[in-house]
Symmetry: C2
Subunit: 334 residues, 2 copies
């Protein structure tokens, strides 16, 4: 029931995801009569399970209020399905803050993880990079950053198949002495040979899209600013480009000729392709679709969840965390 054009777009996206991957068995959580009325157009969802509730979390609801009053909301019931083992993941296009706090309260963080982090993929020159935290944690300690690195590594491995993803810490320079004490301390831990991560050092803002690393780790404040700055700059340039192509008859002709070649660029910058931010570190898979995503975007968010399920993300991360805790405990005992 969440998102700008819910539930239509969510159902359409679910149908698309199922048609792409018939092994997906969705449960729709929300207002059954409303949902049923929309299912007619989607034969692939003919036998879909619906968990009925008339309640939903409003887009503008303050998260703490949603938590208190939204026990029977579609969001909270969907999270409960994951908690009770009746669903392998939840995908929601609703209120981000509410999803974060409700999922945290219901699913709790995994052993060895203090705080969940929001991760997503961004386009780079070479392909993709995963970035976290994108805003779930404003102030982060060195331990949190190390945990984010472990989670980003597992997420990248499981969803992209890269066997040893390279990791960088987002900083204001690449030299060892750059940044604050927190980030330098995290770098020291990540650099240790017994920590089994492919940590390559500090990276800067311009290294995100240059594809310097597979995973960019940062606190949620700078991560969110980097994410939104990237989005804003991309929008800024494409707006200018669109204007240029409309500025004269010759430019319009040029656009018609260039159109097929610009397809790659358009695809590379298509936000729907990168839709599906993941809340990592909880006892369950939680995927957040952008509220403005279209059906393709929703389908992609569902696909992210599916890839995590199919490749045993939860087990993989659990083992990673355990190995890292052993290494860190062993060294602090020395």
């Amino acid at each position: 029931m969440g998102g700008d054009k819910a539930p239509d777009v969510v159902i359409e996206g679910t149908a698309l995801a199922v048609s792409r991957n018939p092994s997906i068995v969705p449960t729709l959580v929300g207002d059954e009569p409303v949902l049923r009325a929309l299912l007619g157009r989607h034969p692939s969802l003919k036998d879909v399970d619906i968990l009925h509730t008339p309640d939903q979390v409003a887009a503008e609801e303050v998260p703490s209020v949603a938590l208190r009053t939204g026990k029977n909301s579609s969001m909270n019931l969907a999270i409960s399905l994951v908690k009770e083992g009746k669903a392998d993941a939840i995908v929601s296009a609703g209120n981000s803050g509410a999803l974060l706090i409700m999922a945290l309260m219901a699913l709790r963080t995994m052993e060895g993880i203090d705080r969940p982090a929001l991760a997503a993929y961004m386009p780079t020159i070479h392909g993709l990079c995963c970035m976290l935290d994108l805003g779930a944690n404003i102030d982060c300690s060195a331990e949190h950053l190390v945990q984010f690195a472990i989670m980003g590594d597992a997420f990248c491995r499981v969803t992209t198949g890269v066997s040893t993803p390279s990791l960088g810490l987002l900083n204001v320079g690449e030299e060892e002495q750059k940044g604050n004490a927190t980030i330098r301390q995290a770098a020291t831990v990540l650099s240790r040979p017994d920590v089994e991560l492919n940590y390559i050092g500090f990276v800067e803002g311009n290294d995100i899209t240059s594809g310097e690393v597979d995973v960019v780790v940062s606190d949620g404040f700078s991560g969110n600013i980097a994410l939104k700055t990237t989005e804003g700059t991309a929008q800024f340039i494409t707006t200018l480009l669109r204007k240029s192509f409309k500025s004269s008859a010759m430019a319009r002709l040029a656009y018609l000729l260039a159109r097929p070649s610009l397809k790659g660029l358009r695809k590379k910058l298509d936000p729907q392709l990168y839709n599906g931010a993941v809340l990592l570190g909880l006892n369950g898979i939680v995927v957040k679709s952008h509220g403005g995503a279209n059906a393709r975007g929703v389908a992609n968010a569902i696909e992210v969840a599916t890839r995590m399920i199919e490749n045993d993300f939860m087990d993989d991360l659990k083992q990673s965390v355990e190995r890292s805790m052993l290494a860190l405990d062993a060294s602090s005992a020395q």
Copy 2:
């Protein structure tokens, strides 16, 4: 003597600046024989003053070492000219960290300013926006952020002529409760009616290039990350665009036709146009040219310094700081 192609490009840029604005009286500081040999090609610099020193700060020198060993470096002597009132501003394309620490030690911060901040202009849909701090201060208190706002306001007024620039604090959301305690405390001060600033609230990463405000205020950590993310994203997209236009014969033809219309875009994204970051808050005008700037870029950096001098930036800022200190003192005395 600083920058990737020094001193050639610096001299060329100085000649360009003087030819554009003959009221500029430059003093070149550096290795006189080397400089003299290059002056022949620039009649506008025929009678230029040269302050000779064979020493210079290396690009890769650690700032604290430069400070200790670079007393007679061209950078330090140029700063001394400002300190002694023999120059109205210093423009350097050299080692940024060394310039920051040497200028801070020699010129000291103005009364009422605790720390200097690095400011520069960035392109937006509507025109320009000034952003600070871009990396001089990693950890900032609420007081620092308020001081940056006062300095950004004065800098924007004096160099662009906008009479009451709109100011925003860079945050992870626009709602009052967003961000950490530091940024919320700064927002409370900036919102007070007796603080004579056109503060409009929190802005997000995507608001930088959308032209939401004239001045974006942030700590140096997130400011640097936002700046470099913008640069990286712009480079990422223009690289993809260039590739697209080369991908087929038709695309190459399209490029030839589109070329005149793309001029505006190219100009808007031309880093040389925005060259000249300013170290605000010291007892003197200090402008940093990018090390990789070409002659046009160096000329633009000199022009930033010139505009600040011609419009009495130092006096303007001094009065602004005094007025703000009075307002803040008055309220804390209540």
